[in-house]
């Protein structure tokens, strides 16, 4: 059955009906034949036996000679033998039971089988010898009761078969429906999955092993699919997040660069202003000393001095604001968050050829530092490391290790390394190995200055071609009132 529109239930029902349409008539006719045959045989046997007993009675009994007794005996055949016709023919003399059907006029020869002769009678004709006389006993048995019984039995069988057929169809429909229910359930869920709803589990409540196994296998496939799908979603999400965080970082970077430019400009202006203020202050003070204490001009110059001091304060404020000058604000600092922020910032700058790794202890105590300056140190060292690896693939590792009494911050690159002559001079201000115009030569000097201002120490390990490691040792704050490693970030 290749028709695609046949449902499982329909298919099974049609099959059951088709099978029964073939089997039931065969059964009906087969069993009907047996029933019919057995009834007929019984009837024939009864008729012949009855006729034989009657004939024997005539042959040996006293009834033969008496017409009245003969009639009585024949009546018995009608009353008890279901006969409609009973006659004793002795030559020309015929005695016939008056109880039989008067319509029957002709007696035939013995019927060979049931229901022959065109009427409802079964004739048995027996010769009788009695005291030298020959006679003939003719009994016509009524076939109708037997025929009715046969018909009744056949009708009952038909009824039972009909009931059976109905039950079989109902059972087939029920069973196929029950079979197809888990299949439909699987189908529904499969469609649901195909349409993108992966969350629904493929579970069927069935006792049929094949269906259960099929559901289990499909469920395993679904889980795999869901897993793959989830991983893809996760990857897409991560990509989106990383892109958005990259955008955010670049925004921060631009902001920071703008601030740095402002700071650099402010620094330049401050330098100029501070230089301008030096002669103003010094010459004013010199002029004041030449003037008598009560002179008006000395009072005027005093006001110049006051203004010059105000100007100095204004410059200080500008510098403090722009983070260029200002006393370094040493405070208990959590280097983990500083390292994290600096790496994030630097990672946005670095090309993909550089792999950035971090090895940060989970328990890092607080140290005295200025978070902004410490961040500058890290970015500066990372920039140096990146430049040492420029043009090639490399690994930049930033480590933060708790090794009492210090916290060790390390920046390691796999770059070209340095010879001893270079190492001896790297912390000198204005020393640079880069071509003119590419570096100020101040980076590591400033790093050194900042590190010293923290009370920390910096060391370098390097060999030509073997990369470079800068280590900064921060003294751990003896008693900061807090347990180490639980410093608040940010």
């Amino acid at each position: 059955m290749a028709r695609l529109n046949a449902t499982f239930t329909n298919f099974v029902t049609v099959c059951v009906v088709a099978i029964h349409l073939v089997l039931l008539p065969a059964l009906y006719f087969g069993v009907g034949y047996v029933i019919r045959k057995s009834h007929e045989d019984l009837f024939v046997h009864h008729a012949r036996t009855f006729a034989r007993v009657l004939a024997d009675e005539f042959e040996v009994g006293a009834a033969f000679d008496s017409p009245a007794k003969t009639s009585d005996l024949l009546d018995l055949a009608v009353i008890h033998g279901e006969a409609l016709y009973a006659e004793l023919m002795n030559g020309d003399r015929s005695v016939r039971s008056a109880l039989g059907s008067p319509d029957i006029t002709e007696a035939r020869r013995t019927d060979l089988s049931f229901a022959t002769g065109g009427d409802d009678l079964y004739f048995v004709v027996l010769p009788i010898e009695h005291a030298g006389q020959s006679a003939e006993l003719r009994v016509g048995f009524d076939e109708r009761p037997t025929k009715e019984r046969i018909q009744l039995a056949l009708n009952r069988m038909l009824f039972l078969l009909a009931v059976y057929l109905g039950t079989a169809i109902a059972a087939a429909a029920y069973l196929s429906n029950r079979l197809s229910r888990p299949i439909r359930r699987l189908q529904d869920v499969s469609r649901s999955i195909a349409s993108g709803n992966y969350a629904q589990a493929l579970q069927v409540n069935t006792g049929i092993r094949e269906l259960h196994d099929l559901a289990t296998d499909l469920e395993a496939m679904r889980r795999e699919l869901v897993g793959v799908n989830d991983r893809l979603r996760q990857q897409i999400l991560e990509k989106e997040i990383s892109e958005s965080s990259r955008d955010e970082l670049q925004k921060q970077l631009r902001h920071r660069q703008r601030l740095e430019t402002v700071g650099t400009l402010a620094g330049g202006i401050a330098h100029e202003f501070n230089n301008v203020l030096v002669p103003i202050i010094l010459f004013t003070e010199a002029a004041m000393q030449d003037l008598p204490r009560d002179s008006t001009s000395r009072g005027d110059l005093e006001r110049v001095m006051t203004s010059a001091r105000r100007a100095r304060n204004v410059v200080q404020k500008i510098l403090t604001f722009s983070h260029v000058l200002g006393d370094t604000a040493l405070a208990p600092t959590d280097l983990r968050s500083v390292v994290g922020e600096s790496i994030t910032l630097f990672a946005a700058l670095a090309p993909p050829s550089i792999e950035i790794r971090t090895e940060i202890d989970s328990d890092v105590p607080l140290v005295r530092a200025d978070a902004t300056l410490a961040g500058d140190v890290i970015v500066n060292l990372c920039t140096n490391a990146y430049q040492a690896m420029q043009g090639r693939n490399g690994v930049l590792t930033v480590g933060l290790k708790n090794s009492p009494p210090h916290v060790e911050l390390s920046v390691t690159d796999t770059g070209h390394g340095m010879d001893q002559a270079t190492v001896d001079r790297i912390f000198e201000p204005f020393f640079t190995t880069r071509p003119v115009g590419q570096g100020t030569g101040l980076g590591l000097a400033v790093v050194h200055g900042i590190v010293e201002s923290f009370g920390a120490a910096i060391a370098v390990e390097t060999r030509p071609g073997a990369g470079t490691t800068f280590r900064i040792l921060f003294p751990i704050i003896k008693d900061d009132g807090r347990s180490g490693g639980t410093a608040p970030s940010n």
Binding site: L259, E260, T261, G263, T264, L265, G267, G268, I269, A270, H271, E272, F273, N274, N275, V276, L277, V278, P279, I280, I281, L282, F283, E285, A286, Q289, A308, R312, L319, H323, V324, L325, G326, D327, T328, T372, L373, D376, V377, V379, N380, T383, F427, E428, P429, F430, G437, G439, T440, L442, G443, A445, V446, H448, G449, I450, E452, S453
Partner: protein
């Protein structure tokens, strides 16, 4: 009389320092760059050198380096008003007066002074280095 050499590329700064220290009783000479300062020191020794950090040609930290090497007896005061060296190049925000002066101190300056300063601070610094530093 104590001899002082002032190195600064700003004439007004040089002259202002000279005026104050002259009045305080020192013998003050001035030059506008570190190279001339080395020549001047070879010509006539000084007890104290007051040098700016950010200058064209030889900068103050390099100058201190040379002076410490060639004239170890001299006392050095580094002065700086901070500011940046180069607006276009890569500069961490931390290029501060503090950092410059820290570099100067490391190079061998005995005292550091942030610009602008008043006469009293300048004289105190000179007296301080002559009293303690040097040899």
């Amino acid at each position: 009389m104590r001899r002082i050499l002032v190195i600064d590329d700003e004439p007004d700064v040089r002259d202002g320092i000279k005026r104050v220290l002259d009045r305080a009783g020192f013998s003050v000479r001035t030059v506008d760059n570190a190279t001339d300062a080395m020549l001047e020191l070879k010509r006539l020794a000084a007890d104290v050198i007051i040098t700016d950090i950010i200058m064209p040609k030889l900068n103050g930290v390099e100058a201190i380096d040379c002076i410490v090497r060639e004239f170890p007896m001299v006392h050095i005061i580094a002065i700086s008003g901070g500011g940046s060296f180069d607006v276009t190049g890569y500069q961490p925000a931390a290029i501060t007066t503090t950092a410059y002066l820290a570099a100067a101190k490391r190079a061998g300056a005995h005292c550091i002074l942030t610009k602008p300063f008043e006469s009293r601070e300048l004289i105190d610094a000179v007296e301080q280095v002559m009293g303690t530093g040097g040899a």
